[in-house]
């Protein structure tokens, strides 16, 4: 027993190495949102293509929908854009675009040149709705269920993996319930 005592510090070291190793695989920029599982913060915002009309969280009750936070100035939004266009073509779920802290003309021009995947785009010019939704790095994508509860948040561009393995299965499950 005494002879095996040198294993104790080695064991502690291995455990520590394990923790540090796992730490390396995690992205510190991804801060888990406290809003997942909570009712989506209410908003009623003017639409990008028709500012006289508003779209709000109450209008979207009773259906599963995605909120995609984007901006014409956002570089990594271009990464996920083709995927969003595909998603729009498949018409699986309404995608509401939140044009975050953008100039409306620039936002509209961007959708013309890149393609418009959004069911409706709304404007958050001063970024207040973004703050209510805990947005800190555009693009971000939220999945909201029929009761208006946020069920998932994707921080950064939507990837093929995230879409196929997490977002779409979740959307299907929520649509069934």
């Amino acid at each position: 027993m005494r002879r095996l005592r040198w294993l104790v510090p080695l064991g502690i070291f291995v455990v520590l190495l394990g923790f540090l190793g796992v730490g390396l695989t995690r992205d510190p920029r991804e801060v888990p949102s406290p809003l997942v599982g909570k009712p989506a913060p209410a908003f009623a915002l003017a639409q990008l293509h028709d500012p006289t009309r508003k779209l709000g969280t109450t209008d979207l009750r009773g259906q599963v929908w995605l909120l995609n936070v984007w901006a014409s100035w956002c570089v990594s939004c271009r990464v996920e854009h083709p995927l969003l266009l595909q998603l729009a073509k498949a018409k699986l779920v309404p995608v509401i675009g939140l044009d975050y802290k953008d100039k409306p003309e620039e936002g509209k021009a961007w959708l013309v040149s890149e393609g418009d995947p959004y069911t409706t785009s709304i404007m958050d010019i001063d970024g207040r709705v973004g703050i209510d939704w805990g947005v800190y790095g555009v693009p971000e994508t939220f999945v909201i269920d029929k009761n208006g509860v946020i069920r998932y948040k994707q921080i950064g561009p939507v990837t093929v993996d995230a879409l196929q393995q997490t977002i779409l299965p979740l959307v299907r499950e929520l649509q069934r319930s």
Partner: protein, 149 residues
């Protein structure tokens, strides 16, 4: 003449600037917000405080915090406002709750563990050394006999 006038104008502007800066730092609301913001993390530049960060989001959050403070909310209300949206991560001082017990108490537990190990090692060493030094009664008697010879 024009050069002198220009120099005087520059000095006057500089002084006015100093005077303005003085006025701004003396505002108690500013001082309070500054203190609050140095304890909050900017989510964009994660190793900067909300007070230091130049990120657009930090500017928006400072504006929001100022409005809340002007509306009469307390520092705790403002912190809760941010935690509700961004989680405990925005706090540079994490709250004490079951999830953070290890974080807060871990170092003290390790210190205690170290003290226990140190104390037990010390005690064993002392026991060993006194064993080595204290001769048996028989050996002592023999030694004394040798000395008396």
């Amino acid at each position: 003449m024009t050069a002198l006038a220009r120099a005087l104008a520059v000095i006057a502007f500089a002084l006015a600037g100093c005077a303005l800066a003085q006025v701004v730092t003396e505002d108690p609301l500013d001082a309070r917000l500054k203190r609050l913001e140095t304890d909050l993390r900017c989510l964009v530049c994660q190793n900067q405080t909300l007070a230091d960060s130049d990120a657009p989001l930090a500017a928006d959050l400072r504006r929001e915090i100022r409005e809340l403070a002007v509306a009469g909310r307390t520092d705790d209300d403002i912190r809760a406002f941010l935690v509700d949206r961004y989680g405990d991560f925005v706090l540079y001082r994490p709250p004490l709750k079951p999830k953070t017990w290890l974080l807060w108490l871990g170092p003290f537990a390790l210190l205690l563990l170290g003290a226990i190990v140190w104390w037990s090692v010390l005690r064993r060493r002392r026991a060993q050394s006194t064993d080595a030094v204290a001769p048996s009664a028989e050996a002592e008697a023999r030694a004394r006999a040798l000395l008396e010879e």
